[in-house]
């Protein structure tokens, strides 16, 4: 039955969150609703813009420093060493060593290498370390949490699946994460893949907990019972029906974990166990710059500020997502 009404301007502004949205033709999918709520958080949007810019920079950086070399991070130019940002290349430089535009936007380091070029190269590596590590941790976390949540009541021997998996999670949680990473990374042959893997396998625990909690709640809901009553196979219920619903906290967790992974990588580099050359990451540029704090502070400040900016953006986006996904925080209309 249609309701003859004059929607107030406020109601139109509320749009699809309105209870009568379908009658007004303003309904939207949960994803659109999420986006709309997220958009209202200005800090989170700022973080998102920065991240999008970062991805572009990282991809471009990888391109411009690795494949079609415009900014060469490896060129050593001793006459031009330790120049502050925005300085020009000196005339003593031979032609093939000259930087593009004859300038160093971020200055040079102790070997005359362009900090800008190194930062460009490092952006791709730092970002991929974060993303790969978190992908690994997500994979493990979702599996463990999902199994514990869904099959929790089944027993293997005297223990239930849930108990076994959760005790296992507890054991891993007990270990001092950073110390453990340090130990493993120091004892293994240095390689970027090892670092990614180690960070990944030490940060899945909170994801597992969230997923398990969501699955436990979802399992009781009617749509799962309905799916079972229709005779759908279990794996299908898990993957097509439950996991999409459980994604919300996982997404938040993932974003914040990437931030954490980038910080961890930089801490490892600081201690000398990070990614080794030829890869440059912002972490090891920062660590190298440590010796020149007094004389050439930009070598330290620039990568530090970059890490701060990126990590902050991830955190802001993660928190924004969390607020947007939390129904309790949305204001009620009356």
């Amino acid at each position: 039955m249609s309701i003859p009404v004059d929607p107030t301007p406020e109601a139109l502004a509320l749009g699809a969150s309105h209870p009568d949205a379908e009658a007004l033709g303003l309904a939207e999918t949960p994803a659109q609703q999420l986006w709309r709520t997220f958009r209202k958080d200005r800090l989170a949007m700022l973080g998102l813009y920065v991240l999008v810019a970062l991805v572009i920079v990282a991809l471009l950086g990888n391109l411009l420093t690795g494949w079609w070399v415009v900014f060469d991070p490896a060129t050593v130019r001793l006459p031009d060493k330790l120049l502050p940002p925005l300085s020009h290349a000196s005339s003593a430089l031979s032609k093939d060593l000259r930087p593009p535009f004859e300038a160093y936007p971020f200055g040079t380091d102790e070997l005359g290498r362009s900090v800008f070029a190194r930062m460009l190269q490092g952006s791709f590596v730092s970002l991929s370390v974060g993303i790969v590590a978190v992908s690994i941790s997500l994979g493990i976390g979702v599996t463990v949490g999902g199994l514990a949540g869904f099959y929790g009541q089944r027993k293997i021997g005297p223990f239930s699946v849930d108990t076994l998996l959760m005790r296992f999670t507890d054991v891993v949680l007990c270990f001092p994460t950073f110390f453990l990473i340090l130990t493993v990374v120091a004892l293994l042959p240095p390689s970027i893949y090892n670092i990614m893997i180690v960070i990944g396998i030490t940060s899945w625990m909170s994801t597992a907990r969230f997923v398990r909690a969501e699955f436990l709640a979802l399992r009781e809901q009617d749509f799962v019972t309905a799916a079972k009553a229709l005779g759908l196979p279990e794996w299908r219920i898990i993957f097509r029906h439950m996991i999409p619903n459980a994604l919300a906290p996982v997404l938040v967790s993932a974003t914040i974990n990437v931030a954490h992974a980038i910080l961890t990588e930089s801490a490892l580099s600081f201690l000398g166990f990070g990614v080794r050359p030829p890869y440059a990451t912002w972490g090891n540029i920062l660590a190298d710059g440590r010796s020149y704090i007094f004389d050439a502070p930009w070598l330290f400040l620039i990568p530090g500020a970059a890490i701060l900016l990126v990590v902050l953006s991830f955190n802001l986006v993660g928190e924004g997502l969390r607020d947007a996904l939390n129904p309790k925080l949305r204001k009620r209309a009356g």
Partner: protein, 320 residues
Amino acid sequence: MWRFLVRTIAQRLLLLLVISIVSHTVIHLAPGQPTEVDAMNPMMKAEDIARIRQSFHLDDPIYLQYLNWMKDLGTGELKSFRDGLPVVPKIWGRFLNSLPLFLCTTLIVWTASFPIGIQAALKRGSRYDRGTTFVAYTLISIPGFFLSYLLILWVVRTFHLPVIGLQTFGTEGANGAVRVMDRVWHLVIPSLMAALTGIAVLSRYVRAQMLEVLGQDYVRTARAKGLAEEHVVYGHALRNALLPFVTMFGLLLPGLISGSVIFEQIFAWPGLGLLGYESILARDFPMILTLNFMAAALTLFGILLSDILYALVDPRIRLQ
């Protein structure tokens, strides 16, 4: 309640055993023989290396090594690879150094976070709240050593004061008051740095908890009774909001080892974190192993302590 406690303790002890086994396995799986470090030294002959390997049981199968380790640890006989000195007294010595830093940091974090978090919750949406939120996020996002170095830079340049180490070089001969002041001064900056991230994280959590509690029905009841707003907030709401933090107290313990590696490195503070770092560099297996194990054990005790505190403090659990 006692049954609950006994059962919990038993579970934790079992977990401790599992952790020790896992620690041991992980360390021994890592490639890189401890004697490789010394193998570079041309003065070490093959027989010496063999002797080291034998005295540290490195040729035995892994489970025997585990049992030996446990036995040596228990009897205090466990010796470090680096210099053959017993592991436990070394750890104890460094622990005494780490302790004041840890206590000072914890004190700062916990006394500062609550007022900040509570005020942010009460003034939700205000400029204070948004300001502290932004600062908190920034602090969480800064690499710890970055901020520390910036601060060191500033302090040294502006005040020309030393900040590294336990005490200023050359003050050993000075009288008691000067030495105490010097040590306190050296303690303040590192604990402040280490505390900043802690405050950022904890105050956010305090704020979230307060907000949740303030929305509860019993807070509305308290207001309906005619109680003054301060009484409602600090008497009724806070008492409930604090419950989870009492349990967090126990979980602070592991911070003794793991939290401090970076900061001890920066400030050259000879504590447990630095010990761990040096041991890793030197591939000193017994030390690394013991430290890892102790850190995990500390976490476990921390969890146990939290469980006990929670049972004591929450009447809903206490009276089961």
